[in-house]
Symmetry: C2
Subunit: 328 residues, 2 copies
Amino acid sequence: MAVATPDPIPPTIEWMDGVVRMIDQRALPGRLQFLDAATVDELCEAIRTLAVRGAPALGVAGAMGVALASVTGEDPDAAAARLVATRPTAVNLAWGVNRARAAADPVAEAVGMAAEDVARNRRLGGHGATLLPPGARVLTHCNAGGLACAGFGTALGVIRSADVAHVWVGETRPLLQGARLTAWELDRLGIPVTVIPDVRAGSLLAEGAVDCVVVGADRIAANGDVANKVGTYPLAVLARHHGVAFYVAAPTSTIDLSCASAADIPIERRSGDEVAELAGTRVTPAGVEAENLAFDVTPAALVTAIVTEVGVLTAPYSAALAALTAFE
Amino acid sequence: MAVATPDPIPPTIEWMDGVVRMIDQRALPGRLQFLDAATVDELCEAIRTLAVRGAPALGVAGAMGVALASVTGEDPDAAAARLVATRPTAVNLAWGVNRARAAADPVAEAVGMAAEDVARNRRLGGHGATLLPPGARVLTHCNAGGLACAGFGTALGVIRSADVAHVWVGETRPLLQGARLTAWELDRLGIPVTVIPDVRAGSLLAEGAVDCVVVGADRIAANGDVANKVGTYPLAVLARHHGVAFYVAAPTSTIDLSCASAADIPIERRSGDEVAELAGTRVTPAGVEAENLAFDVTPAALVTAIVTEVGVLTAPYSAALAALTAFE
């Protein structure tokens, strides 16, 4: 008889007695603590400050925000607009908001979407695992783990579903989601992981130490272009230069057919202080500008495959991505 | 009548009444303060902790260390060995030590080498300036400025000698020499500079925002392979991918004909704590390894030109580099 093993990563976001309970990712890896949002504004603040982040998790957060509004009696139009405005790049946020708004019972819809997200990611992980060689040495970036979803993860979902010997993760400047979150998850999962400065990826690939690159996505355009955490695009170029496979793992909710290509995807510009300051101390000289675009764009031509819960897509992506909407 | 303008960047390293006075680069950009080393051990500690760093500056530091030993009466063999062992990758350190040891008056030789370094870098800058288009938008990495030399700089020497409209500099994780030092120098020089997370270089190049990449070098092998700060190699691959010129600016003292290729260049591995900790706070989970190789290697095939004080070299590099030794 199969016994369900509890996931060593607690749920990222849950509906609990009329509040949205989240792992406060700002406190990781130092402390595993939870943050409750009882109003739409509290949830918006949690999203803006990255207490909860990651495209699939933002989808669930958007739905739970609409659920909150339905419970607190807040105006649903205003709540939806405020939620969608918090982060511009991840399309899942608007997707989650819209699904909950269209439902008769937004709370039930949001709760169902969280469970559905985990189930999708498990299927996605199974599909992706077939791409990796046994004992794979995988390079990833940022955090596309359980913490970026309701649970289980997308890129890390592939990694935990496959036979992976070692994971290299770029620390992911400026906010260090790789060093703080991905390393924490993989350590909990018992998967060997080494944190590297993001720029070490080049020489690692040159040394032949990487079998494939697996990353998540914040939005995928109709032509297969991928917006993801800044630093993804250089990995795609480096992978191509070294003949290493570059996989994007993302649920179909990340696909936005209304964007013909990446040129249509808005790229979030965050405060330069996130780059210029280190633990509250300014490291860049006063008066010198620091730039902080949160995402970059990888053209479809550099993507070996897109792994979804429905299956593995390869180029040309346009037809495959359009066909996928039939499953939605 | 030409009036000499004082350089807005003070000398990085000077001989002052029997001690070696250095800008303490660990305190920049917050404070411009100086550090005096009166013994070889004090100088070795300054080198190891990066109070003084940069390949050409290390050449002068090596010579001044031998000069210190001659003044304090320390055993010259032991002093030389301790100095050379502080940093394994920059060949200039051993070069400086050997030159001072071979001189009848190590103090005069070391003082002369500092002046010579500045003069070389000015010539190097003039040669490099001819490569850049008017109003150039330049991407650089780490610090190959006056602070990496006795003065004036190599990559920044090219930039300050040319008509440069804007410089993008990667912050250069983990020790942020780009954000701390290069931004400080360019700001003092009145050259517009923007600090970026290192991984933003990819999308900048994709946007067409960079006319050329100019970096320094810690050691150049006989075949033109270049060892430089980790993160240089990904820039070279990205520059090639985008058809952008990739220039290495380094004095001939950086060339090591005893290394046939980069495979012979030792790459310094520093403490993982420099990656895992941010301003003294651990950001990587306890028990998770963080890796910290200080340099990477760019194959000669990706280098558009090597700019030296003698002139601009282009591929094939082997013959040109061998011929250059005739000038030494």
